[in-house]
């Protein structure tokens, strides 16, 4: 068995003294692991860093084997990302989420989203909102997508302000009034057609709270996983004042 593809490294683990098991989000083969011989060498280490974009060739005798990767660097994002805390917290958060995907299950949409995210992950004015959108995309890909297009009560697409924590459907401001204490806030930048305004720190915190609820319920708790500590740092980062000039 053999194929060639491109991907973004999301993790690696030492295997023996000189090899690593590389975990890559590939364009056509989904989250895929493989052994890289000599992956702990000085020459290979700068290439095999999470966030880097790489060209891969994978080979194994049988399809179900772990197989071996040959890796070539396409873009060294890691060197740029390690200088920015928001980028590293964001990268750890999305890598942790991608790790919940079943292996070898293609998700080209998520791959494209990841590529865009990594290109802007070191921009403090963009990164938190992009991570929230990526979390929504992850929920959707795994079958737990939120319906933020129209009100679950009135069917209207106007003035959406909350989300039902049970159904994951949007609720308009008027319909939400009797249940405000039980509903989750829906920040305007996540509503279709209203994403042109730069989100405020409060919008970002509300966005993270919204996705956290559904991530916990559908992904973390059923697997007995705690929320990644880096995500909490990212939320703290987003809560601080940020430039208002950018558009997401």
């Amino acid at each position: 068995m053999e194929w060639a593809d491109e991907g973004t490294i999301i993790g690696l683990k030492a295997h023996g003294e000189s090899a690593v098991i590389l975990e890559v989000m590939t364009r056509e083969h989904g989250r895929h692991l493989g052994l890289v011989r000599g992956g702990r060498s000085q020459k290979a280490q700068p290439v095999l860093q999470p966030g880097n974009s790489v060209a891969l060739s994978w080979r194994a005798r049988l399809d179900e084997h772990l197989g071996e990767y040959k890796v070539e660097l396409l873009t060294s994002h890691a060197a740029r990302l390690i200088a920015a805390p928001v980028a590293l917290y964001g990268l750890a958060t999305v890598s942790g989420l991608l790790r919940l995907l079943p292996e070898r299950d293609p998700h080209p949409g998520l791959y494209e989203g990841l590529s865009v995210l990594i290109a802007h992950l070191d921009e403090p004015s963009l990164a938190p909102a992009l991570v929230i959108r990526f979390e929504l995309a992850m929920l959707s890909e795994l079958g737990f997508g939120l319906d933020l297009a129209r009100c679950a009560v009135t069917g209207s697409p106007d003035d959406l302000s909350h989300v039902s924590p049970k159904s994951g459907k949007a609720v308009s401001r008027r319909a939400a009034q009797p249940y405000l204490d039980r509903l989750l806030s829906l920040p305007a930048f996540l509503v279709e057609g209203q994403g042109a305004r730069a989100p405020s720190p409060a919008d970002l915190v509300a966005g993270f709270a919204l996705t956290a609820h559904f991530l916990r319920r559908h992904l973390f708790e059923p697997r007995g996983l705690p929320e990644p500590p880096e995500r909490a740092r990212l939320v703290e980062f987003a809560a601080r004042a940020m430039p208002e000039s950018s558009t997401v």
Binding site: G11, L12, K13, E17, E23, Q45, P46, V47, Q49, P50, G51, L73, S76, A78, A79, R80, L81, I82, A83, P85, L88, Y89, L91, A92, S95, G96, R99, P226, P228, P229, E230, R233, E236
Partner: protein, 201 residues
């Protein structure tokens, strides 16, 4: 299936040596044979040294280094600078810095770096002890001497946030061109980091 080439005692020695880093079954056989041949000069002293190490080596309760006393020699050395804590991921990093002789502060060994894939979370690292040590008014600077990897730098930023409320200066190691490094052979990421962190002549 391979046949035993020596008695069970020597086979046991070979098996144990083969578990050491850098040694496989073949090199373990060579090492075992060498030890057996140099019984008086090498095998005996090695066995004694290992017994002493097993009985006396402890982990320093202050910094996480290993030594035969607690606190360790580095923590009790009066010539070292009490105002400086150098944070390292592992004891091997501490030894590397000591070999270089570049810094004469106190150390703090974290016991690893944050890694989701390896399941290393903040509670698995010696972070509370670091914050407690850095809270000492005598401490003026904390150097984060962690690997220039994504996991290493995530840990560094995490620690920086933890220490943000303390009146200490937090610094990190520079990233760039190694001594003897030729630009043509450097990876793009290191070159970019070196350009970003350029200094004036």
């Amino acid at each position: 299936m391979s046949r035993a080439i020596a008695g069970p005692e020597i086979e046991r020695l070979i098996q144990l040596l083969a578990k050491l880093p850098g040694l496989g079954p073949r090199s373990a056989r060579r090492a075992a044979l060498h030890l057996v041949k140099k019984r008086e000069q090498l095998l005996g002293p090695l066995a004694e040294a290992m017994t002493v190490a097993r009985d006396r080596i402890v982990v320093c309760s202050r910094c996480g280094n290993v030594d035969t006393r607690d606190p360790c020699g580095l923590c009790t050395d009066p010539r070292r600078d009490d105002s400086l804590i150098v944070v390292v991921a592992d004891i091997s990093d501490l030894w590397a810095l000591e070999r270089s002789g570049a810094v004469a502060g106190r150390y703090h060994v974290l016991g690893g770096v944050l890694s989701a894939l390896d399941g290393v979370r903040p509670e698995h690292l010696s972070l509370d002890a670091l914050v407690a040590r850095a809270s000492d008014p005598a401490v003026k600077e904390v150097i984060l001497a962690l690997n220039a990897t994504v996991d290493g730098q995530t840990t560094a930023h995490f620690i920086t946030d933890l220490l943000a409320h303390l009146p200490v200066k937090v610094t990190k190691l520079a990233h760039g061109v190694p001594v003897g490094g030729e630009l043509d052979y450097l990876d793009d990421g290191t070159l970019a980091a070196a350009i970003r962190q350029r200094t004036g002549f």
